[in-house]
């Protein structure tokens, strides 16, 4: 698993996220600092998405660490708000976690309906539910506050 063993990664992840084991999950990448959760949710693994000037930020989107600004950033690549996490054929979805209006994390739904997340600078995981990363612990992502979706643009169309 890159800079640390998978066993070490799992030990850390289960310490950071107290609900992780309430569903199935698996580590799917090595530790990598080149991209973050916001970029990964947008489907990018070579860029760090963060309000300018600390990272890439879509032109015209307010440089704020708010859920609304991140939603606008995803809106710039075709996502629109939707009501639920339920998998919809032909659409990919993202879920935004927030804390009092501040952006905390974003997860992306795979065609299978499972979610995938980049955990800070650490590994990517696939996780069965969004709730597995929720909580009020130091490293937990608080709670999902917004869903967005766009039509699949690749051969992975559901």
């Amino acid at each position: 698993m890159g800079s640390r063993t998978e066993a070490d990664a799992i030990a850390d992840l289960e310490r950071w996220f107290s609900r992780l084991r309430t569903g199935t999950y698996k580590v799917t990448s090595a530790y990598d600092r080149k991209y973050n959760c916001a970029a990964f949710a947008a489907g990018q693994t070579d860029t760090w998405w963060e309000p300018a000037p600390d990272g890439y930020w879509p032109p015209g989107v307010p440089s704020e660490y708010t859920v609304d600004a991140y939603a606008a950033a995803y809106g710039s690549i075709g996502f629109v708000e939707c009501d639920t996490a339920t998998s919809e054929r032909g659409f990919e979805k993202i879920a935004i976690y927030g804390d009092n209006g501040d952006f905390v994390h974003a997860a992306r739904q795979l065609p299978s309906g499972v979610w995938t997340s980049k955990l800070g600078r650490a590994e990517d995981i696939e996780h069965e539910t969004l709730q597995q990363l929720e909580g009020n612990g130091q490293w937990e992502y608080r709670f999902v506050v917004k869903f967005m979706k766009r039509r699949w643009t690749t051969k992975a169309d559901g």
Binding site: T47, W49, E50, G55
Partner: protein, 59 residues
């Protein structure tokens, strides 16, 4: 803290490209990163390391 920590931050940046850019900007008051490279951690790190060499903060 302040300018004395710059060599330490730049050393760390050289080793693992941890995104310390906000701290570097806050301490130095400059930003040598080309805006077109925003989000490209490797290029952002290279820009800061080049700046550090120009300032003779790193070898």
């Amino acid at each position: 803290m302040g300018r004395p920590v710059l060599p330490l931050i730049l050393d760390r940046l050289a080793v693992n490209a941890d995104p310390w850019f906000w701290a570097l900007r806050a301490i130095t008051g400059v930003d040598p990163v080309d805006p077109r490279d925003a989000g490209k951690i490797g290029r952002m790190a290279e820009a800061w390391l080049a700046w550090g060499r120009e300032q003779k903060l790193t070898p």
